[in-house]
């Protein structure tokens, strides 16, 4: 299995459970970041029935949650205003059942259709409950949107350099999309965000490295999320620079304390 290190690299020196978490790192298995906006996974025909169990989504919590703002006040007034505006809009909730039906009837060949149905995990939601809201592009945070390509400005065999944009956004709220690297537990309060989906590969896991460009996501206040193969949109405060996690010994270069984690289906 190819473990193509992304040129640049947040070091991922692994210890403890993170070693086991290491994906077989098909790190070279990349896919254009654009494709994240139209997930390849939403219309996985034949698998949707299994998928429906992936995320705790029911109609009830969704409707309960829609009256609430999507995100905790973050100091970003525009984002907050936008979130409130969204919350007040009539919400077209599409439940898993609807999705299933649509997938079955192959109505979802246009991935944009599914953008209407996404889930937002926010601090306002009840503990352990993931709220589902209508999601539109969060253009309030457009200036702070980071892509994996923008993390490093120089990548050579002799090392890498953080980009100016990344350094400028340090300690600020950012938005980034990616995939959750396969974690070990059933729920996680922190995980590694990768540009492309990683697969666990038991045979080469002893030989698997993290991609160069990874972002460690810490859930705010130790909130937890269930593993998902779907793309995620993370909003939260950025922290740049080498840091070692006390508990796991995991060395990271780029971290986000997540205010919200949106599962994009």
């Amino acid at each position: 299995m190819q473990h193509k290190m992304r040129p640049a690299l947040a070091i991922a020196i692994l210890t403890g459970w993170l070693v086991t978490v290491t994906g077989c790192a098909n790190q070279s298995a990349s896919e254009p970041i654009d494709s994240l906006s139209h997930s390849n996974y939403e219309d996985r025909s034949g698998l949707v029935a299994e998928d429906s169990g992936d995320i705790k989504v029911t109609n009830d919590p969704m409707t309960d949650a829609v009256e609430e703002p999507a995100a905790e006040p973050t100091g970003n007034k525009e984002a907050q205003a936008q979130a409130e505006k969204q919350a007040k809009q009539p919400v077209e909730v599409k439940s898993e059942k609807v999705l299933l039906k649509q997938r079955d009837s192959k109505l979802l060949s246009n991935p944009q259709d599914t953008a209407n149905a996404s889930e937002i995990l926010s601090d306002k939601a009840e503990d352990g409950v993931i709220s589902l809201e209508k999601s539109e592009k969060n253009d309030a945070a457009d200036n702070n949107i980071l892509t994996f390509e923008e993390l490093y400005s120089e990548v050579t065999v002799r090392g890498m350099k953080f980009s100016d944009k990344l350094l400028d956004l340090n300690d600020k709220e950012v938005v980034i999309e990616g995939y959750m690297a396969p974690p070990l537990g059933a729920t996680v309060s922190f995980f590694v965000l990768t540009k492309i989906p990683l697969a666990i590969c038991p045979f080469c896991s002893t030989n698997a490295d993290w991609p160069a460009d990874i972002v460690v996501i810490n859930m705010r206040n130790g909130k937890s999320i269930e593993p998902t193969e779907h793309p995620l949109k993370i909003t939260g405060k950025l922290s740049v620079g080498s840091a070692t996690d006390d508990e796991t010994g995991f060395v990271s270069q780029i971290r986000i304390t997540a205010e919200s984690v949106e599962v994009m289906k």
């Binding site: 190819q2 193509k4 298995a29 090392g159 953080f162 995939y179």
Partner: protein, 694 residues
């Protein structure tokens, strides 16, 4: 491992035992604390294992006379401390036999260990090691051999390993690269043209299955190893770096005065290239393996893996310490290159040591390199190909009048078969075959070079037909078999050995016996792609990114239903091919165990480690002051004692440059040291083990 070697000063038994001719006796501790401790540790213990004895090297080990190894005896799962332990070799006390003291340890409450580092057996013959610990008895036999000295000997050996290149890969490579007319191939691969063929069995010491570490280790040491291990036998503790080691071919070649080269498209710390120099139970000790490369100092090291050469403070480093391995190599006189252009500019006739790292991780695969696939290459757009690396390595190494050993690995045949990307795997196999061509060409001119091409293990890929959509069918139902298969239609107009188009209208079908559900549309993946990703509950979901059109509403016609829950196809157990040509190739024939490949090379070269001028490895020297400064330490001279005082990483090391005695943290150690042209030089061995080591 080096740490432990440095502190072996346990000599309490030497005096008592050196005169004994029968057995080494160890008195039991007076208390029964051993059992109590075990009980306390696991009050509700599962049914305990029976007490057992483990001896390394293991039973039926074949050893080259003079080959160095660590001798270890373990008493495991003891229910009580044995009152008496006797360890003999052919009836002689082990420490008398080896001429060194056994070092006793206890790595757990229920175990005892006895170890002697760095021993060898100098006389060919059969040896029986017998261990008696009260009622426990175990004996193992070793077969110690001398290299065959008859016949024409090879001065040089080039060992080319196609990682994962089972028989089907060779056939597919020939079919795709050469094509076929009415059932006859239009040409043979370079590896096909080697005159000698054998099959090699690949199992590891602890399983019928195998990984690339223990298989490579079998080739480079002649010993079986456990999965993930390199140059070691396993032991009963969790430290991967202290396991009993066995000498590698890289170390042996250095001892007999030959040069050593390692060329790979993976990280140079990856299992196969690492096996030339490494001793670890865990192949992912890559930062340590980078230091092992430095210690052995192969004259040529070319591949990927620069992230382990960078100190931790450099962003992109995968080290956990501040060692600058690049600087260490540079200081030892290596020419260092970062890309293909620089490699090309190296004048091999004036270069004796060459380090080239072309990617922080594994190098990109040939398909992406050759198609300049920007999405995959990112900034690494100037990586050399394997045959140019091989040619440069040969050009540097061939200057050694004593000869050389060169390992070349086609790494990503395996790395692309794991995710069911047979097209990329075959392109890399063709690339490797072109490196075989370079080796063969040199061998033919040189006349003293043995070329061996083999694999370390297979994959479950099989060739089961052709794929053709010409009649409107597509997906799995468009696989054609028997007479409907016809012939694949790959073309090679520019005669470079690679097909002009990886997706001709009729393709070879390569399927996997052990796979998870995955999409196969018989078009090369845009990028190396995970075939399945883990969803919730650990369930695997096929990755539509493997399809040319991931949004195809009818994509399930491409869904291959698998029988495994693994996103990475496992290695398969079957024998692998071996081809050899040149002096000594006749040693490779019939059905061989993978450890026999080592002895084939030793016989071909007639390596003699006992008597004669060989026996001690030539040391590589580096200026101590430059080294210490580079590692941010300080060096001074004690005017009174004339000792050189090194302060580094919080340690103070005092070195007597005339006796080689060093004192570090109160411990007396031996350092290879000499003074030349007013500079204090220390061997690279001592730099890593004593100056840098814990």
């Amino acid at each position: 491992m080096r740490k432990k070697r440095a502190i072996i000063t346990f000599a309490a038994l030497t005096a008592a035992c050196s005169m004994l001719t029968s057995a080494v006796l160890f008195e039991a501790p007076s208390s029964n604390s051993l059992i109590h401790a075990a009980d306390a540790a696991s009050p509700a213990a599962a049914p305990s294992k029976a007490a057992s004895i483990y001896i390394a090297p293991i039973n039926n080990a074949k050893l080259l006379a003079g080959e160095k190894f660590d001798f270890r005896v373990e008493l495991n799962d003891l229910k009580a401390t044995p009152s008496k332990v006797s360890i003999t070799v052919n009836g002689k006390a082990a420490d008398t036999f080896f001429g060194k003291s056994l070092v006793k340890s206890s790595s757990s409450a229920t175990s005892q260990e006895f170890m002697i580092r760095d021993v060898s057996i100098l006389t060919a013959g059969t040896y029986e090691v017998k261990v008696v610990a009260d009622n426990l008895v175990k004996s193992v036999k070793y077969n110690v051999v001398l290299a065959d000295t008859k016949g024409t000997k090879a001065k040089n050996v080039i060992l080319i390993v196609g990682d994962g290149m089972g028989h089907p890969v060779v056939t597919a490579t020939r079919a795709v690269s050469k094509g076929m007319t009415e059932g006859k191939y239009n040409g043979l691969l370079e590896m096909d043209k080697l005159e000698q063929r054998a099959v090699v069995s690949t199992s590891s010491m602890n399983a019928i299955m195998t990984d690339s570490a223990n298989t490579a280790s079998a080739y480079t040491t002649g010993q079986k190893a456990v999965i993930n291990a390199l140059g070691t036998y396993p032991d009963n503790n969790t430290n991967s770096l202290d396991d009993p080691k066995v000498e590698t071919i890289g170390e042996i070649m250095k001892r007999v005065g030959k040069s050593v080269g390692i060329v790979s498209t993976s990280e140079v710390q990856d299992a196969t290239p690492a096996s030339v120099v490494a001793h670890t139970n865990k192949r992912d000790d890559k930062a340590d393996i980078a230091e092992m490369l430095y210690k052995v100092q192969p004259e040529v090291v070319l591949g990927g893996g620069s992230a382990y050469f960078l100190p931790k403070s450099v962003t992109g480093s995968k080290r956990k310490d501040e060692k600058d391995i690049y600087a260490m190599f540079e200081q030892s006189g290596y020419n260092v290159v970062d890309n293909a252009t620089q490699l090309k500019s190296i004048d091999a006739s004036k270069t004796n040591k060459l380090l080239g790292l072309f990617h922080p991780s594994n190098m990109s695969v040939y398909y992406d390199r050759s198609t300049k696939n920007a999405e995959e290459l990112k900034t690494f757009t100037d990586q050399p190909n394997l045959w140019d690396m091989t040619q440069k390595a040969i050009d540097v190494l061939k200057k050694d009048k004593d000869g050389f050993f060169l390992m070349v690995e086609g790494s990503s045949i395996d790395k692309m078969l794991h995710p069911y990307d047979p097209e990329r795997a075959i392109y890399d196999a063709i690339e490797m075959d072109k490196a075989v061509g370079v080796a063969r060409q040199f061998a033919e001119q040189d006349g003293e070079t043995l070329v061996i091409v083999t694999a370390d293990h297979a994959h479950s890929m099989s060739l089961v037909g052709t794929y053709w959509e010409g009649d409107g069918k597509s997906g799995i139902s468009a696989i054609r078999q028997y007479q409907d298969a016809g012939f694949p239609t790959y073309t090679d107009a520019n005669k470079d050995g690679f097909p002009d188009n990886p997706n001709p209208d009729r393709k070879l079908v390569m399927m996997f016996a052990a796979a998870t559900d995955y999409y196969e549309d018989f078009k090369i993946d845009k990028l190396p792609t995970a075939p399945a990703v883990q969803g919730a509950d650990g369930k695997l979901v096929p990755n539509a990114s493997k399809l040319a059109n991931p949004d195809d509403p009818d994509k399930d016609r491409f869904l291959v239903k698998g029988n495994f829950q693994t996103t990475s196809g496992p290695h398969s157990i079957e024998d692998v091919p071996l081809m050899a040509g040149g002096p000594g190739s006749a040693y490779f024939k019939g059905t061989m165990d993978n450890t026999d490949v080592f002895f084939g090379m030793i016989n071909a070269m007639g390596v003699n480690l006992v008597g004669g001028k060989t026996g001690t490895a030539a040391l590589s020297w580096a200026p101590l002051k430059d080294f210490v400064t580079m590692m941010s330490g300080q060096l001074s001279v004690d005017r009174r004692t004339k000792e050189v005082v090194v302060s580094l990483n919080g340690n103070v090391i005092k070195i007597n440059t005339s006796t080689g005695k060093a004192v570090k943290n109160g411990k007396t150690l031996k350092v290879d040291v000499k003074v030349a042209n007013g500079k204090t030089l220390v061997s690279t061995n001592s730099l890593t083990e004593v100056i840098l080591g814990g």
